[in-house]
Amino acid sequence: MLAIKIWNYFKGYVIIRVEGLTLERLLNLSAAHDIYLWDVKRLSGIVLEMKSSTKGFRSLKQVVKKVGCKVTIKEKIGLPFLIHKLKERKMWFAGFLLFWAMILFLTSLIWRIDILGNEQTPKEEIIALLDSNNISYGKIKYQIDKEQIKDILNENYDYLSFVSVTIKGTKLTIEIKEQDLPPEKVDKDYPCHIVAKKKGVITKVIPKNGKAVVERGKVVTEGDILITGILTNEGTDEFIAVHAEGEVYALTRYSSIIREPIVKNEERYTGNSIIQKGIKIGNKGIRFIRGNVDFKDYKEFESEKSIINLESFGIKFPIKITTYEFREIELEEVKQDIDFLKNSNYLEAMKMINEEMPSDVLVQSKNTRHQVDNGILTTQVIIEAIEDIAKKQIIQNKED
Protein backbone atom coordinates (compact mmCIF):
# COMPACT_ATOMS: atom_id res chain seq x y z
CA MET A 1 0.00 0.00 0.00
CA LEU A 2 2.86 2.32 0.82
CA ALA A 3 4.39 1.70 -2.58
CA ILE A 4 1.13 2.75 -4.25
CA LYS A 5 0.98 5.87 -2.10
CA ILE A 6 4.52 6.83 -3.03
CA TRP A 7 3.77 6.13 -6.69
CA ASN A 8 0.68 8.34 -6.52
CA TYR A 9 2.69 11.08 -4.88
CA PHE A 10 5.21 11.07 -7.69
CA LYS A 11 2.51 10.99 -10.35
CA GLY A 12 0.45 13.67 -8.61
CA TYR A 13 -3.23 13.48 -7.69
CA VAL A 14 -6.15 15.74 -6.81
CA ILE A 15 -8.77 15.59 -4.11
CA ILE A 16 -12.04 16.57 -5.74
CA ARG A 17 -15.49 17.36 -4.44
CA VAL A 18 -18.46 16.38 -6.57
CA GLU A 19 -21.94 17.80 -6.09
CA GLY A 20 -24.95 16.23 -7.81
CA LEU A 21 -27.88 13.91 -7.54
CA THR A 22 -26.88 10.80 -9.47
CA LEU A 23 -23.41 10.37 -8.12
CA GLU A 24 -23.52 6.57 -8.28
CA ARG A 25 -23.83 6.94 -12.03
CA LEU A 26 -20.67 9.03 -12.05
CA LEU A 27 -18.77 6.30 -10.21
CA ASN A 28 -20.04 3.60 -12.57
CA LEU A 29 -19.26 5.59 -15.68
CA SER A 30 -15.76 6.48 -14.55
CA ALA A 31 -15.12 2.82 -13.76
CA ALA A 32 -16.27 1.95 -17.25
CA HIS A 33 -14.01 4.67 -18.71
CA ASP A 34 -11.04 3.28 -16.79
CA ILE A 35 -10.70 6.32 -14.59
CA TYR A 36 -9.12 5.30 -11.35
CA LEU A 37 -10.86 6.78 -8.32
CA TRP A 38 -10.05 6.00 -4.72
CA ASP A 39 -10.95 6.98 -1.15
CA VAL A 40 -14.51 7.88 -2.10
CA LYS A 41 -16.26 9.49 0.89
CA ARG A 42 -19.87 10.53 1.25
CA LEU A 43 -19.92 13.95 2.89
CA SER A 44 -23.65 14.54 2.61
CA GLY A 45 -26.62 13.44 0.50
CA ILE A 46 -25.43 15.32 -2.54
CA VAL A 47 -21.66 15.69 -1.99
CA LEU A 48 -18.90 13.13 -2.57
CA GLU A 49 -15.19 13.58 -1.98
CA MET A 50 -12.68 11.42 -3.81
CA LYS A 51 -9.14 11.21 -5.05
CA SER A 52 -8.24 10.98 -8.70
CA SER A 53 -5.03 10.96 -10.68
CA THR A 54 -4.30 14.06 -12.74
CA LYS A 55 -4.70 12.08 -15.96
CA GLY A 56 -7.97 10.60 -14.71
CA PHE A 57 -9.24 14.01 -13.72
CA ARG A 58 -8.90 15.27 -17.29
CA SER A 59 -10.96 12.41 -18.72
CA LEU A 60 -13.44 12.79 -15.86
CA LYS A 61 -14.66 16.03 -17.42
CA GLN A 62 -16.51 14.19 -20.20
CA VAL A 63 -18.20 11.95 -17.66
CA VAL A 64 -19.19 14.95 -15.58
CA LYS A 65 -20.82 16.52 -18.60
CA LYS A 66 -22.93 13.39 -19.17
CA VAL A 67 -23.99 13.05 -15.55
CA GLY A 68 -24.50 16.73 -15.01
CA CYS A 69 -22.82 17.51 -11.71
CA LYS A 70 -20.42 20.11 -10.34
CA VAL A 71 -16.76 19.31 -9.69
CA THR A 72 -14.42 21.44 -7.62
CA ILE A 73 -10.80 20.75 -6.78
CA LYS A 74 -10.17 20.75 -3.06
CA GLU A 75 -6.46 20.05 -3.00
CA LYS A 76 -3.61 19.22 -5.35
CA ILE A 77 -1.06 16.81 -3.95
CA GLY A 78 2.10 15.39 -5.45
CA LEU A 79 5.44 16.11 -6.93
CA PRO A 80 4.26 17.60 -10.28
CA PHE A 81 2.31 20.30 -8.41
CA LEU A 82 5.26 20.94 -6.12
CA ILE A 83 7.54 21.43 -9.10
CA HIS A 84 4.98 23.74 -10.64
CA LYS A 85 4.91 25.76 -7.44
CA LEU A 86 8.69 25.92 -7.34
CA LYS A 87 8.76 27.20 -10.90
CA GLU A 88 6.87 30.22 -9.68
CA ARG A 89 9.27 30.71 -6.77
CA LYS A 90 12.48 30.51 -8.74
CA MET A 91 14.63 32.53 -6.37
CA TRP A 92 13.57 30.48 -3.38
CA PHE A 93 14.47 27.31 -5.23
CA ALA A 94 17.78 28.78 -6.36
CA GLY A 95 18.56 29.66 -2.77
CA PHE A 96 17.76 26.15 -1.68
CA LEU A 97 20.07 24.69 -4.29
CA LEU A 98 22.76 27.22 -3.45
CA PHE A 99 22.55 26.25 0.20
CA TRP A 100 23.28 22.61 -0.53
CA ALA A 101 25.93 23.48 -3.07
CA MET A 102 27.68 25.68 -0.50
CA ILE A 103 27.59 22.98 2.14
CA LEU A 104 28.93 20.42 -0.30
CA PHE A 105 31.64 22.78 -1.45
CA LEU A 106 32.71 23.92 2.00
CA THR A 107 32.88 20.40 3.38
CA SER A 108 35.11 19.30 0.54
CA LEU A 109 37.86 21.73 1.50
CA ILE A 110 40.71 21.14 3.90
CA TRP A 111 40.24 23.45 6.85
CA ARG A 112 42.81 22.08 9.22
CA ILE A 113 46.11 20.30 9.00
CA ASP A 114 47.20 18.39 12.07
CA ILE A 115 50.66 16.99 12.44
CA LEU A 116 51.14 14.42 15.17
CA GLY A 117 54.22 12.72 16.48
CA ASN A 118 56.79 15.31 15.38
CA GLU A 119 59.34 15.71 18.10
CA GLN A 120 62.42 16.74 16.23
CA THR A 121 60.92 18.27 13.11
CA PRO A 122 59.18 21.62 13.57
CA LYS A 123 55.55 21.69 12.57
CA GLU A 124 55.92 24.98 10.69
CA GLU A 125 58.57 23.43 8.49
CA ILE A 126 56.36 20.52 7.49
CA ILE A 127 53.45 22.83 6.74
CA ALA A 128 55.69 25.10 4.67
CA LEU A 129 57.01 22.09 2.79
CA LEU A 130 53.48 20.89 2.01
CA ASP A 131 52.50 24.41 1.04
CA SER A 132 55.25 24.58 -1.53
CA ASN A 133 53.89 21.32 -2.95
CA ASN A 134 50.42 22.83 -3.28
CA ILE A 135 48.92 21.23 -0.20
CA SER A 136 47.54 23.79 2.21
CA TYR A 137 44.38 25.08 3.83
CA GLY A 138 41.49 25.68 1.46
CA LYS A 139 42.45 23.03 -1.07
CA ILE A 140 39.82 20.60 -2.31
CA LYS A 141 40.27 17.38 -0.42
CA TYR A 142 39.50 15.09 -3.34
CA GLN A 143 42.48 16.49 -5.22
CA ILE A 144 44.91 15.69 -2.42
CA ASP A 145 46.89 12.58 -3.06
CA LYS A 146 47.77 10.86 0.19
CA GLU A 147 50.51 8.83 -1.42
CA GLN A 148 52.05 12.02 -2.77
CA ILE A 149 52.19 13.53 0.73
CA LYS A 150 53.88 10.40 2.01
CA ASP A 151 56.40 10.54 -0.82
CA ILE A 152 57.15 14.23 -0.22
CA LEU A 153 57.72 13.67 3.49
CA ASN A 154 59.83 10.58 2.98
CA GLU A 155 61.96 12.32 0.36
CA ASN A 156 62.65 15.37 2.52
CA TYR A 157 63.07 13.67 5.87
CA ASP A 158 64.97 10.45 5.50
CA TYR A 159 64.73 9.69 9.21
CA LEU A 160 60.97 9.16 9.27
CA SER A 161 60.17 5.57 10.05
CA PHE A 162 56.42 5.85 9.60
CA VAL A 163 54.09 8.28 7.85
CA SER A 164 50.32 8.01 7.81
CA VAL A 165 48.01 10.47 6.10
CA THR A 166 44.28 10.50 6.80
CA ILE A 167 41.58 12.89 5.72
CA LYS A 168 38.58 12.89 8.03
CA GLY A 169 35.91 15.43 7.19
CA THR A 170 37.73 18.68 6.63
CA LYS A 171 40.78 17.73 8.65
CA LEU A 172 44.01 16.44 7.20
CA THR A 173 45.96 14.48 9.78
CA ILE A 174 49.56 13.55 9.20
CA GLU A 175 51.02 11.18 11.72
CA ILE A 176 54.72 10.58 11.68
CA LYS A 177 57.16 8.58 13.72
CA GLU A 178 60.74 9.71 13.78
CA GLN A 179 63.85 7.71 14.31
CA ASP A 180 66.19 9.19 16.91
CA LEU A 181 68.24 11.85 15.21
CA PRO A 182 71.80 12.70 16.08
CA PRO A 183 71.26 15.91 18.09
CA GLU A 184 73.27 18.14 15.75
CA LYS A 185 70.87 17.44 12.92
CA VAL A 186 67.92 19.10 14.62
CA ASP A 187 67.29 22.60 13.25
CA LYS A 188 68.88 25.10 15.64
CA ASP A 189 66.38 27.86 14.88
CA TYR A 190 63.72 26.22 16.98
CA PRO A 191 63.71 26.01 20.78
CA CYS A 192 63.90 22.53 22.17
CA HIS A 193 64.26 20.41 25.29
CA ILE A 194 66.60 17.55 25.84
CA VAL A 195 64.54 14.55 26.87
CA ALA A 196 65.35 10.99 27.84
CA LYS A 197 65.41 8.41 25.08
CA LYS A 198 64.99 5.54 27.51
CA LYS A 199 64.83 4.95 31.24
CA GLY A 200 67.95 4.86 33.35
CA VAL A 201 69.91 6.30 36.26
CA ILE A 202 71.70 9.55 35.46
CA THR A 203 75.48 9.39 35.87
CA LYS A 204 76.65 12.59 34.19
CA VAL A 205 74.97 15.73 32.81
CA ILE A 206 76.91 18.10 30.53
CA PRO A 207 74.62 20.97 29.54
CA LYS A 208 75.99 23.19 26.76
CA ASN A 209 72.91 25.33 26.38
CA GLY A 210 69.82 25.45 28.55
CA LYS A 211 69.41 24.49 32.17
CA ALA A 212 69.88 20.98 33.54
CA VAL A 213 66.91 19.84 35.60
CA VAL A 214 68.25 16.42 36.60
CA GLU A 215 71.31 15.52 38.55
CA ARG A 216 73.49 12.50 39.15
CA GLY A 217 71.65 9.53 40.65
CA LYS A 218 68.20 10.51 39.53
CA VAL A 219 66.01 7.88 37.91
CA VAL A 220 64.40 9.05 34.70
CA THR A 221 61.90 7.37 32.40
CA GLU A 222 61.43 7.78 28.69
CA GLY A 223 60.30 11.27 27.71
CA ASP A 224 61.39 13.04 30.90
CA ILE A 225 62.97 16.47 30.38
CA LEU A 226 66.68 16.40 31.20
CA ILE A 227 67.84 19.81 30.03
CA THR A 228 65.08 22.34 29.66
CA GLY A 229 65.01 24.86 26.86
CA ILE A 230 62.72 27.25 28.72
CA LEU A 231 64.61 29.65 30.92
CA THR A 232 62.99 31.95 33.46
CA ASN A 233 64.30 35.41 33.95
CA GLU A 234 65.13 35.84 37.62
CA GLY A 235 63.83 39.40 38.02
CA THR A 236 60.68 39.20 35.94
CA ASP A 237 58.42 36.25 35.20
CA GLU A 238 59.27 36.16 31.52
CA PHE A 239 60.21 33.00 29.74
CA ILE A 240 62.86 32.63 27.12
CA ALA A 241 62.87 29.55 24.96
CA VAL A 242 66.30 28.42 23.77
CA HIS A 243 67.67 25.55 21.77
CA ALA A 244 68.94 23.27 24.51
CA GLU A 245 72.06 21.26 23.88
CA GLY A 246 74.13 18.90 25.89
CA GLU A 247 75.01 15.34 26.72
CA VAL A 248 73.39 13.23 29.39
CA TYR A 249 74.88 9.91 30.37
CA ALA A 250 72.89 7.36 32.25
CA LEU A 251 73.15 3.82 33.47
CA THR A 252 70.68 1.75 31.48
CA ARG A 253 69.63 -1.82 31.84
CA TYR A 254 68.89 -4.42 29.21
CA SER A 255 67.44 -7.73 30.18
CA SER A 256 66.07 -10.71 28.43
CA ILE A 257 64.39 -13.84 29.72
CA ILE A 258 64.21 -17.12 27.82
CA ARG A 259 62.13 -20.08 29.00
CA GLU A 260 62.61 -23.50 27.58
CA PRO A 261 61.22 -26.84 28.81
CA ILE A 262 63.86 -29.45 29.50
CA VAL A 263 61.59 -32.30 28.42
CA LYS A 264 60.33 -31.59 24.99
CA ASN A 265 57.54 -33.26 23.10
CA GLU A 266 58.54 -34.17 19.64
CA GLU A 267 55.87 -34.71 17.04
CA ARG A 268 56.04 -37.44 14.47
CA TYR A 269 53.48 -38.21 11.77
CA THR A 270 52.21 -41.78 11.76
CA GLY A 271 51.04 -41.60 8.19
CA ASN A 272 47.33 -42.00 8.98
CA SER A 273 45.06 -39.22 7.82
CA ILE A 274 41.39 -38.42 7.31
CA ILE A 275 40.21 -36.09 4.58
CA GLN A 276 37.02 -34.01 4.73
CA LYS A 277 35.72 -31.74 2.01
CA GLY A 278 33.87 -28.48 2.21
CA ILE A 279 32.66 -25.57 0.15
CA LYS A 280 33.51 -21.97 0.86
CA ILE A 281 31.56 -19.02 -0.50
CA GLY A 282 33.37 -15.82 0.34
CA ASN A 283 34.45 -16.27 3.94
CA LYS A 284 31.59 -18.53 4.98
CA GLY A 285 31.94 -22.22 4.55
CA ILE A 286 30.16 -25.53 4.92
CA ARG A 287 32.06 -28.62 5.88
CA PHE A 288 30.79 -32.04 4.90
CA ILE A 289 31.58 -34.18 7.91
CA ARG A 290 32.12 -37.85 7.33
CA GLY A 291 32.87 -39.81 10.47
CA ASN A 292 34.69 -38.65 13.55
CA VAL A 293 38.37 -38.02 13.83
CA ASP A 294 39.46 -40.88 16.10
CA PHE A 295 43.09 -39.84 16.49
CA LYS A 296 44.32 -38.96 19.94
CA ASP A 297 46.61 -36.24 18.68
CA TYR A 298 46.35 -34.74 15.27
CA LYS A 299 47.08 -31.67 13.24
CA GLU A 300 44.63 -30.04 10.88
CA PHE A 301 45.61 -28.84 7.46
CA GLU A 302 43.37 -26.76 5.24
CA SER A 303 43.79 -26.12 1.55
CA GLU A 304 41.60 -24.19 -0.86
CA LYS A 305 40.98 -24.59 -4.55
CA SER A 306 38.74 -22.44 -6.73
CA ILE A 307 36.05 -24.22 -8.72
CA ILE A 308 36.79 -22.16 -11.78
CA ASN A 309 40.31 -20.97 -12.19
CA LEU A 310 40.26 -17.33 -13.26
CA GLU A 311 43.62 -16.40 -11.75
CA SER A 312 45.02 -15.70 -15.18
CA PHE A 313 42.40 -12.96 -15.65
CA GLY A 314 43.14 -11.53 -12.23
CA ILE A 315 39.71 -12.44 -10.86
CA LYS A 316 39.26 -14.37 -7.64
CA PHE A 317 36.32 -16.71 -7.99
CA PRO A 318 34.40 -16.58 -4.69
CA ILE A 319 33.33 -20.23 -4.54
CA LYS A 320 36.07 -22.53 -3.40
CA ILE A 321 36.42 -26.15 -2.50
CA THR A 322 38.27 -26.68 0.74
CA THR A 323 39.99 -29.84 1.79
CA TYR A 324 40.55 -30.50 5.46
CA GLU A 325 43.16 -33.07 6.24
CA PHE A 326 43.68 -34.49 9.69
CA ARG A 327 47.03 -36.13 10.10
CA GLU A 328 47.67 -38.31 13.12
CA ILE A 329 50.75 -37.53 15.16
CA GLU A 330 52.65 -39.37 17.82
CA LEU A 331 54.18 -37.47 20.68
CA GLU A 332 57.55 -38.55 21.94
CA GLU A 333 59.23 -37.13 25.01
CA VAL A 334 62.83 -36.18 24.52
CA LYS A 335 64.99 -35.07 27.43
CA GLN A 336 67.50 -32.43 26.45
CA ASP A 337 71.01 -32.00 27.79
CA ILE A 338 70.86 -29.25 30.45
CA ASP A 339 74.26 -27.70 29.75
CA PHE A 340 73.56 -27.55 26.08
CA LEU A 341 70.17 -25.97 26.79
CA LYS A 342 71.74 -23.37 29.08
CA ASN A 343 74.18 -22.38 26.42
CA SER A 344 71.56 -22.13 23.70
CA ASN A 345 69.29 -20.08 25.97
CA TYR A 346 72.15 -17.72 26.74
CA LEU A 347 72.92 -17.22 23.07
CA GLU A 348 69.26 -16.61 22.30
CA ALA A 349 69.00 -14.00 25.08
CA MET A 350 72.18 -12.22 23.95
CA LYS A 351 70.82 -12.09 20.42
CA MET A 352 67.67 -10.38 21.65
CA ILE A 353 69.62 -7.85 23.72
CA ASN A 354 72.00 -7.03 20.89
CA GLU A 355 69.08 -6.18 18.65
CA GLU A 356 67.85 -3.68 21.23
CA MET A 357 71.16 -2.20 22.36
CA PRO A 358 72.90 0.52 20.33
CA SER A 359 76.51 -0.17 19.40
CA ASP A 360 78.11 2.87 21.07
CA VAL A 361 77.33 1.96 24.69
CA LEU A 362 79.78 1.24 27.44
CA VAL A 363 78.93 -2.12 28.99
CA GLN A 364 79.37 -2.02 32.73
CA SER A 365 78.29 -5.45 33.86
CA LYS A 366 76.78 -8.62 32.54
CA ASN A 367 74.79 -11.09 34.63
CA THR A 368 73.50 -14.48 33.61
CA ARG A 369 71.18 -16.50 35.81
CA HIS A 370 69.79 -19.97 35.23
CA GLN A 371 66.91 -21.47 37.14
CA VAL A 372 65.09 -24.78 36.82
CA ASP A 373 61.46 -24.69 37.83
CA ASN A 374 58.87 -27.42 37.13
CA GLY A 375 60.97 -28.83 34.36
CA ILE A 376 61.41 -25.46 32.68
CA LEU A 377 64.80 -23.83 32.40
CA THR A 378 64.62 -20.05 32.80
CA THR A 379 67.63 -18.04 31.70
CA GLN A 380 67.89 -14.35 32.45
CA VAL A 381 70.65 -12.14 31.07
CA ILE A 382 70.99 -8.60 32.42
CA ILE A 383 73.39 -6.09 30.95
CA GLU A 384 74.04 -2.71 32.49
CA ALA A 385 75.60 -0.02 30.35
CA ILE A 386 76.36 3.68 30.30
CA GLU A 387 75.16 5.60 27.29
CA ASP A 388 74.05 9.00 26.08
CA ILE A 389 70.28 9.15 26.45
CA ALA A 390 69.85 12.73 25.24
CA LYS A 391 67.25 13.36 22.56
CA LYS A 392 66.04 16.70 21.29
CA GLN A 393 62.36 17.49 21.34
CA ILE A 394 61.03 20.66 19.77
CA ILE A 395 58.93 22.78 22.10
CA GLN A 396 55.49 23.03 20.57
CA ASN A 397 53.65 26.30 20.68
CA LYS A 398 51.20 26.59 23.52
CA GLU A 399 48.12 26.93 21.33
CA ASP A 400 48.76 23.63 19.59
Binding site: E24, L27, V40
Partner: protein
Protein backbone atom coordinates in the same frame (compact mmCIF):
# COMPACT_ATOMS: atom_id res chain seq x y z
CA UNK B 1 -32.02 -21.62 -24.74
CA UNK B 2 -30.20 -19.34 -22.31
CA UNK B 3 -30.94 -21.67 -19.50
CA UNK B 4 -29.35 -24.54 -21.40
CA UNK B 5 -26.12 -22.64 -22.04
CA UNK B 6 -25.95 -21.83 -18.35
CA UNK B 7 -26.32 -25.49 -17.47
CA UNK B 8 -23.56 -26.48 -19.90
CA UNK B 9 -21.28 -23.84 -18.41
CA UNK B 10 -22.08 -25.04 -14.92
CA UNK B 11 -21.38 -28.65 -15.83
CA UNK B 12 -18.09 -27.85 -17.54
CA UNK B 13 -16.99 -25.81 -14.57
CA UNK B 14 -17.97 -28.60 -12.19
CA UNK B 15 -16.34 -31.42 -14.11
CA UNK B 16 -13.11 -29.58 -14.92
CA UNK B 17 -12.95 -27.93 -11.50
CA UNK B 18 -12.55 -24.51 -13.05
CA UNK B 19 -13.34 -21.48 -10.88
CA UNK B 20 -17.00 -20.73 -11.24
CA UNK B 21 -16.68 -16.97 -10.85
CA UNK B 22 -14.66 -16.76 -14.03
CA UNK B 23 -16.61 -19.18 -16.21
CA UNK B 24 -20.05 -18.02 -15.20
CA UNK B 25 -19.18 -14.38 -14.42
CA UNK B 26 -20.37 -14.67 -10.84
CA UNK B 27 -19.53 -12.07 -8.18
CA UNK B 28 -16.80 -13.01 -5.74
CA UNK B 29 -16.69 -11.51 -2.28
CA UNK B 30 -13.66 -11.31 -0.09
CA UNK B 31 -14.32 -10.13 3.44
CA UNK B 32 -11.47 -9.36 5.81
CA UNK B 33 -12.77 -9.23 9.37
CA UNK B 34 -15.57 -6.72 9.43
CA UNK B 35 -13.54 -3.86 8.00
CA UNK B 36 -12.73 -4.53 4.38
CA UNK B 37 -14.81 -6.07 1.63
CA UNK B 38 -13.73 -6.67 -1.94
CA UNK B 39 -16.28 -7.49 -4.61
CA UNK B 40 -15.08 -8.77 -7.95
CA UNK B 41 -17.20 -9.00 -11.12
CA UNK B 42 -19.65 -6.28 -10.19
CA UNK B 43 -22.00 -4.53 -12.54
CA UNK B 44 -22.00 -1.07 -11.01
CA UNK B 45 -23.08 0.80 -7.92
CA UNK B 46 -26.77 1.46 -7.44
CA UNK B 47 -26.71 3.35 -4.19
CA UNK B 48 -23.97 4.75 -2.03
CA UNK B 49 -24.48 6.40 1.34
CA UNK B 50 -22.59 6.18 4.60
CA UNK B 51 -24.91 3.51 5.94
CA UNK B 52 -25.75 1.38 2.90
CA UNK B 53 -24.12 0.44 -0.35
CA UNK B 54 -26.03 -1.44 -3.03
CA UNK B 55 -24.02 -3.09 -5.76
CA UNK B 56 -25.47 -4.69 -8.87
CA UNK B 57 -24.17 -8.07 -9.96
CA UNK B 58 -25.19 -10.75 -12.44
CA UNK B 59 -27.19 -12.72 -9.91
CA UNK B 60 -28.84 -9.81 -8.15
CA UNK B 61 -28.19 -6.85 -5.90
CA UNK B 62 -25.80 -7.01 -3.02
CA UNK B 63 -26.79 -4.78 -0.14
CA UNK B 64 -24.12 -3.97 2.37
CA UNK B 65 -25.13 -2.15 5.55
CA UNK B 66 -22.82 -0.78 8.20
CA UNK B 67 -21.35 2.40 9.58
CA UNK B 68 -19.07 5.03 7.97
CA UNK B 69 -18.69 3.06 4.77
CA UNK B 70 -16.18 4.31 2.22
CA UNK B 71 -15.30 3.18 -1.27
CA UNK B 72 -11.58 2.72 -1.13
CA UNK B 73 -11.12 1.90 -4.80
CA UNK B 74 -13.46 1.51 -7.71
CA UNK B 75 -12.40 -0.21 -10.91
CA UNK B 76 -14.44 -1.74 -13.71
CA UNK B 77 -13.92 -5.23 -12.23
CA UNK B 78 -13.49 -4.64 -8.56
CA UNK B 79 -14.79 -2.51 -5.70
CA UNK B 80 -13.15 -2.31 -2.28
CA UNK B 81 -15.25 -1.06 0.61
CA UNK B 82 -13.91 -0.16 4.03
CA UNK B 83 -15.76 0.74 7.20
CA UNK B 84 -17.67 -1.17 9.83
CA UNK B 85 -19.65 -3.82 7.91
CA UNK B 86 -22.63 -5.22 9.74
CA UNK B 87 -24.71 -7.08 7.19
CA UNK B 88 -24.42 -8.40 3.66
CA UNK B 89 -27.68 -9.21 1.87
CA UNK B 90 -28.31 -10.73 -1.56
CA UNK B 91 -31.54 -9.54 -3.14
CA UNK B 92 -32.19 -11.56 -6.28
Amino acid sequence: MKRQIEDVKYNISKSLELPMDIIMDLPKLNLVGDGELTIQNHKGIIEYTEGTIRINTRIGVFKITGESLEIKTILSEEITIIGLIKRIEIIS
